[in-house]
């Protein structure tokens, strides 16, 4: 580790923090563009003007937007997430377990999808132009081109309707045994794995092909290196940065996928919570969920960028 690398990493972290601020700002102001008065919406048309005024006071709605933003951001940082409009519950209570459920779903999917997709992506790049490569490519294009709910529906049709192996919906609180758990997680995980893997395969393949076309890989071939040596010794170490980046970008599809998958399988996670919140226009809850998702994604791409910086041989001394 030298100063140049350290400087670049610090710069990258700085950018991530600035981005998060801009993003939370954007989320806060977009949700505050809501036409109509929040207090009136909450209390209904029948509410007395005094009650509306009282609520406005209590919610700091009379303050300028920028003040409210800082108030909200400060609360977010200190763990005071505010209360839901819909049922007046503490948002932290609402999110608590559901957040863990979503993390669980994401983690299981990642553990399955990443090795699976990396293997397919790298092997199809190495066997570029072969029948195997063409099949993988067509399948990934197919999966990428189709909305997540179509993939999920297809999975339901195959595994729940025709084969009757798995239930079509998940209720995590009903788990009594390992086989229960498998059955509960299976459908969401299978669907998400498909969605995320297709992205990873596509991007990994492109990254590896790019390094396979470099003069130093040709040089290795002309030194008599075997195919596996060319790939493992010369192509992959240099493709590491781009591959990690591809992984991080693909995991954003995990977030998009989670939103649909939790809804379709009735999975009690934070994404389902957010979709319901949008339906009821529960602003504080939407804001919190959105910022959690954005922060999660930013953390992923920042880690990927840092790995890319560290693995860049040109920065070594």
């Amino acid at each position: 580790m030298n100063s140049e690398i350290g400087r670049l990493i610090l710069k990258r972290l700085g950018i991530a923090i600035i981005t998060l601020v801009i993003v939370s700002f954007a989320v806060f102001f977009t949700t505050n563009m809501l036409p109509g008065d929040t207090a009136t919406i909450l209390l209904g048309q029948a509410a007395t003007p005094e009650a509306v005024a009282g609520l406005r006071e209590a919610m700091h709605l009379n303050d300028p937007a920028i003040t409210r933003f800082f108030h909200w951001a400060f609360g977010f940082v200190t763990g005071d997430l505010g209360k839901s409009y819909a049922n007046n519950m503490e948002i932290s209570t609402l999110i608590g377990n559901r957040f863990l459920n979503t993390l669980e779903l994401a983690a299981i999917t990642t553990v399955i999808a990443v090795p699976f997709a990396l293997t397919l992506g790298i092997t199809s790049a190495v066997a570029r132009g072969s029948l195997y490569d063409r099949i993988v490519t067509v399948l990934t294009i197919g999966v990428i081109s189709v909305p997540e709910f179509v993939i999920a529906s297809t999975a339901v049709l195959i595994f729940a309707v025709y084969l009757r192996w798995l239930p079509a919906i998940s209720f995590v609180n009903e788990i009594h045994s390992v086989s229960d758990m498998l059955r509960m997680y299976a459908m969401p995980v299978v669907t998400l794995t498909f969605v995320v893997s297709a992205q990873i395969i596509r991007m990994t393949r492109a990254a590896v092909i790019e390094t396979l076309d470099t003069p130093y890989v040709e040089m290795a071939l002309l030194k008599g290196a075997s195919r596996s040596r060319m790939v493992l010794r010369h192509a992959l170490p240099n493709a590491l940065g781009p591959i990690v980046n591809a992984l991080a970008l693909s995991l954003s599809y995990l977030i998009g996928g989670v939103i649909i998958i939790e809804t379709i399988f009735n999975y009690p996670g934070i994404a389902k919570l957010m979709v319901d919140a949008v339906a009821t226009r529960d602003l504080p809850l939407i804001q919190t969920c959105a910022v959690i998702f954005c922060a999660g994604y930013l953390i992923l791409i920042t880690i990927a960028d840092i790995i890319a910086i560290i693995s860049n041989p040109r920065l070594r001394k």
Binding site: D213, T214, P215, Y216, E218, M219, A220, L221, L222, K223, G224, A225, S226, R229, R233, H234, P237, N238, S311, P313, R314, R316
Partner: protein, 550 residues
Amino acid sequence: MTNLVEIRNLHVEATTDAGRRIEIIKGVDLDIAKGEIVALIGESGSGKTTIALSLMGYARRGCEITKGSLLVDGKDMARLSEKQRQQVRGTEVAYVPQSAAAAFNPSATIIDQVFEVTRIHKLMPPAQARLRAIELFRALSLPDAENIGNRYPHQVSGGQLQRLAAAMALIGDPKLMIFDEPTTALDVTTQIDVLKAFKSVMQQGGIAGVYVSHDLAVVAQIADRIVVLKDGEVQETGTTQDILQAPKHPYTRELLAAFEPRHFEFSGRKEAAATPLLRIEDVTSGYGQIQADGLPLIRAVRSVSFELEKGRNLGIIGESGCGKSTLARTISGMLPASAGRVLFDGQEMPPASKNRTRDQLQHMQIVFQSADTALNPAKPIEDILGRPLTFYHGMSAQDRSKRVDELLDMVHLPRNLRYRHPAELSGGQKQRVNFARALAAEPKLIICDEITSALDTVVATAIIELLKELQRELDLSYIFISHDLSVVEAICDEIVVMYHGEKVEQLTREGIKAPKHPYSKLLFSSVPKLDPAWLDNLVLEPELVRQYVG
């Protein structure tokens, strides 16, 4: 069998992007005796690299060896299985690439890659391989032989990398070495050391070699025999002496003619004009943040002054990174000078082109090195040439069309080329269009920035002739920027030598024979000559080399 290599009736086909197959090697025969160095010479697209690579049983993506036999030490490389080929590569036949900087894996240390061959083919234990590598580094006169291998490729210079690549090829004790334009990317002063190192290791080891190059003078120093290629066919084969002194094929003669000292008539009607056409005074420019003294962080040009009289030509010569192209950009106003003045026809011009009047811009045109990037690929030639006519002269469609024809005539291109796009033209044609566009403005001065360096020798010579001809007809002045002394010599009345951002010397044509500044001496004496004994007889003061070659 007496020959190490016997190629018979080699055919190679390539698949184009459009899916058509074209033959790029059309029945080539070639013999190489043991210990003999044979040069393959020809312009780009002649198939010289393809033939060299086929000796390793390798064809680049999209290419395929379709016919013929390639015997290397009795084994037919075209018929071997991939596994058998792998065994031959690196041990019997080894390869030195054109750009070592790209051929070294950036994420491994140099020494790891140098003795990788011994590891792949299990030739010797790693400790021994390391010692052998250091021995080779020494033989190739690399500095700090013990430690240089522990660095990463981006940490050593281009000339050193090229020699390290040779070490990487030599470590497997090959019978045949393939050099693929190994010094083309290097500066002349760097090239000398690399060539000397190559020659001495090849002689000591008695290794046979194939030396691919477009440069006849370089090849003359190292090859026993020369094979002249064009369009995938052998034009002529002979010993180096024969080819240089008694060439038979017209194409070979053309190649040689490019080296002949050109008869030179002074371009300048030496009018004693009161004001020079261009005068630059203490110009400094560069890149990066402006410092407290008002100058940029990286000063690519430092306090350069010169004058150019009307109707005369000035050459600016120097090696890569000497600031010659930056100087051209500064004069033209693309990169505003941080200090100093630029006077045109006695009138001071604003440093930035955007502050100059249309008149000032019109009278000074610049022509860039690469016609590929200098011509907008989305426009037909007539639009490219027509725009300056509309812009500067406000011509009507009819006048413009007539003038485009005239311009094409001037640069000796057929008139119907006007309907084509740049991608449909050859390199030489593109450079002519590039030049015609500058002429369209009707300038007094044209700055030519390395306009011949991307072209093959024969084409470049024709372009220089064209420039001279136009100068006689149109009363032009040129500033000619190049790294190639022979080009500058052929057209310029005066030559400015630049080193490290500074003007080290200004010479008249007569003065070229006897430069005074030590760097000019080194630079001029480093230019290869057709004489095969030139390299062996060349003695450079080591002190000088240490000072200026890095």
